[in-house]
């Protein structure tokens, strides 16, 4: 258990009474969960296709090519993971961090 000093708990109360804090929590949670769900949907859609209809991934990208669409899709999922983390870090390290430091300033 963490023991809060007197200062800290007063600061906690001030943060809790700040409507901006609640706005931050709400917005950031929604953002984090949206991105998580996008990632989960992409991944489990892929898994479900492998489980039920693997033939879809065996389709050739063009009629005279040996490369199947499974390959760009696989690489695409890897890239989508990277892009989603990039979007999150940009927003969290930018807008959300600014809002957080404002809230912390006000509560001191």
């Amino acid at each position: 258990m963490v023991k809060e000093s007197g200062d800290d708990s007063a600061q906690f109360k001030r943060i809790l009474s700040n409507p901006k804090y609640h706005e931050l929590v709400r917005k950031r949670r929604r953002f984090a969960w949206t991105l998580s769900i996008i990632m989960l949907v992409i991944y489990y859609a892929f898994i479900v296709v492998i489980a039920f209809k693997p033939a879809i991934l065996a389709t050739q990208i063009t009629s005279d090519s040996i490369i199947t669409i499974g390959i760009p899709i696989g690489v695409g999922i890897i890239l989508s993971a990277f892009i989603l983390t990039w979007i999150f870090v940009m927003r969290a390290n930018g807008a959300y961090d600014r809002l957080t430091s404002e809230i912390k300033e006000l509560s001191k």
Partner: protein
């Protein structure tokens, strides 16, 4: 202390040479001495022991020991996380799986990778803001310390030991083939070095060993992949077409089977047979990552939440790039290794040194003896770095969670806690060496699966719920976590991997290889049910404490400087 250090350093440095001079049992499938590999490996060992010496001088407090003083940057930590992730099992294992089965190897890579964004979105920052050294810090933030620390430490230790044994057995076999050293000496050398890194250099040395190895591995793998592509002038169409053609000519038993079954190696094959297995494997791969103690520990080495986020971003980039490389390396090996009988053990119908050697042989096919030496040394360095990280997280569970927090109630002298950590590292190292030698002839692949399943079913659910669900109580977490842990172990023992393959029974009692879908669900349900039915005074206070925990999670207030109190 430093005299002991110097003596040990000398001992380890010379021991393999002595072993080399000693007679090697003729029965072992030795290759000829790989001199380049040995020289490069000794350069790596010398550099990392130098770092350990440097780190030992800087490791004065528990914060230095567990969290490298908290001064690692996001970029460095991203490399270190990627390093912990890119074990020899993923480098050699996944490229070999692509080599043998084609597209199916990529399914594994993707599962391992997509856990990262989820950790970032829902956990990385909270871990950094709430925790100090281990993930048990988070779980016991507002819940009862003693029972939860003990449970988390148990989850950590079982994951660490299982994973360590698998790595040790792999290390012994790999080193025997690559360096021509006897199995036992190889296991002892790896074990001794990892104990030195951890006991003397703590997290600072462990992190730098990991960073150096990650850079070596990424550059080595890039070289192999690009060299393989250069054989077909970077024309992907030609690359895959010629690989498929090469597989038809291959003398390898696995390849002959693929060809005679008429399988398309550019599409999903027989890896996943039914939907439940598919989803269960997916869950274990994805959420196992989020419960691996040696990786979670890395979030405490950075200064703040911002750096924690950056480190996951870099890690995702490095790991994603690495997995794309392993896919190219696997097909490159089909193209350039499979047609050449010099890389084949024609009697067994496998690759020389076993089917995990695809990437190693490709390094020879693309870069000759010198590059083969380099990649062999990197593969060895990879094992060393990963086992060091594992040992450190196991040692921290013993000293920080069990000794300092659960037994002494947090009232403990820092020097004493560090002593316990070092002793724990020594004991864990010796256990790993002993079991590594005992399990030489066993198939240990299931241990990695079990470690992941425990991480996903026992560690992840209570960690996740304690961060995101106000209603979690000590009773719920204890019962749910224990149920997840027991269920995983029982189901794995009753499944084909142990019941049939290890215990030699005729048929499995549990039909699926991967229990995650059942054990994770059980852990979540158990935690939920035993929390909502918990009407005790303690449970009420724990729910009330969530608000303060959330403030700290979201804003980081109270976490700065929290590492000492």
């Amino acid at each position: 202390m430093f005299r002991i250090f110097t003596v040990l350093m000398g001992g380890v440095f010379w021991m393999p040479w002595c072993a080399w001079a000693a007679d090697i049992p003729p029965a072992a499938p030795q290759q000829k001495m790989n001199v380049t590999a040995i020289i490069m490996f000794f350069i790596f060992v010398a550099v990392t022991l130098g770092i350990t010496y440097w780190a030992a001088n800087r490791t004065k407090t528990t914060k230095d020991f567990y969290a490298a003083g908290g001064g690692i940057t996001g970029f460095q930590n991203g490399l270190a996380i990627a390093g912990d992730y890119m074990s020899a099992a993923s480098f050699l294992g996944i490229s070999s799986m692509v080599f043998a089965k084609g597209y199916d190897g990529l399914i594994y890579s993707i599962g391992f990778l997509v856990g990262w964004p989820i950790i970032l979105f829902l956990m990385a920052e909270q871990l950094r803001n709430l925790g100090r050294y281990t993930f048990a810090d988070i779980v016991s933030f507002r819940l009862q310390r003693i029972p939860l620390r003990t449970l988390s430490a148990f989850g950590t230790l079982s994951t660490v030991i299982l994973y360590l044994i698998a790595q040790m057995v792999g290390a012994g076999q790999l080193i025997r083939t690559l360096f021509g050293l006897p199995y036992e000496y190889a296991v002892i050398a790896v074990g001794t070095l990892m104990i030195l890194y951890v006991a003397f250099g703590g997290m600072l040395a462990t992190t730098w060993v990991q960073i150096i190895k990650a850079v070596l591995l990424l550059s080595g793998a890039s070289f192999i992949a690009f060299a393989a592509l250069s054989f077909v002038d970077f024309d992907l169409e030609r690359f895959f077409r010629e690989s498929v053609a090469a597989m038809k000519q291959s003398a390898l038993a696995d390849h002959k089977k693929v060809v005679s079954d008429g399988k398309n190696i550019l599409a999903p094959g027989g890896l996943v047979t039914d939907p439940i297995s598919a989803i269960s494997l997916g869950l274990a791969l994805m959420f196992g990552t989020a419960g691996l103690p040696h990786i979670l520990m890395r979030f405490f080495t950075v200064g703040n939440a911002k750096e924690a986020r950056k480190s996951v971003f870099y890690a995702t980039g490095f790991i994603g790039y690495f997995y794309i490389l392993t896919f190219i390396i696997g097909f490159g090996a089909v193209l350039l290794v499979a047609p050449h009988t010099q890389y084949m053990d024609m009697v067994k119908g496998t690759l020389m040194g076993g089917n995990n050697m695809a990437a190693i042989h490709l390094s020879h096919a693309t870069g000759g003896d010198l590059f083969l030496g380099f990649i062999s040394a990197v593969a060895f360095a990879t094992i060393l770095a990963v086992v060091s990280g594992l040992t450190l997280s196991g040692a921290s569970a013993v000293s920080h969670d069990i000794y300092a927090s659960a037994i002494c109630g947090g009232q403990v002298n820092e020097k004493k806690e560090m002593m316990i950590s070092k002793m724990a590292a020594l004991v864990i190292g010796c256990i790993a060496i002993y079991l590594g030698i005992q399990f030489e002839k066993q198939n240990v692949a299931f241990m990695v699966g079990l470690a992941f399943a425990i991480a996903a079913s026992a560690n992840f659910p209570i960690l996740f719920l304690s961060i995101h669900w106000k209603g979690l109580t000590t009773r719920g977490a204890m019962i749910g976590g224990t149920m997840g842990l027991l269920c995983t172990i029982i189901m794995v023992v009753l499944s084909k991997t142990v019941w049939v393959d290890v215990l030699k029974n005729p048929a499995p009692l549990f039909p699926y290889k991967d229990p995650a879908i059942f054990s994770m669900t059980l852990a979540f349900l158990g935690s939920w049910f035993f929390s909502i039915t918990d009407g005790s005074e303690r449970a009420k206070n724990e729910k009330l404490a969530y608000e303060a925990q959330l403030v700290r999670c979201e804003t980081g207030v109270g976490s700065v400087g929290a590492s000492k109190h």
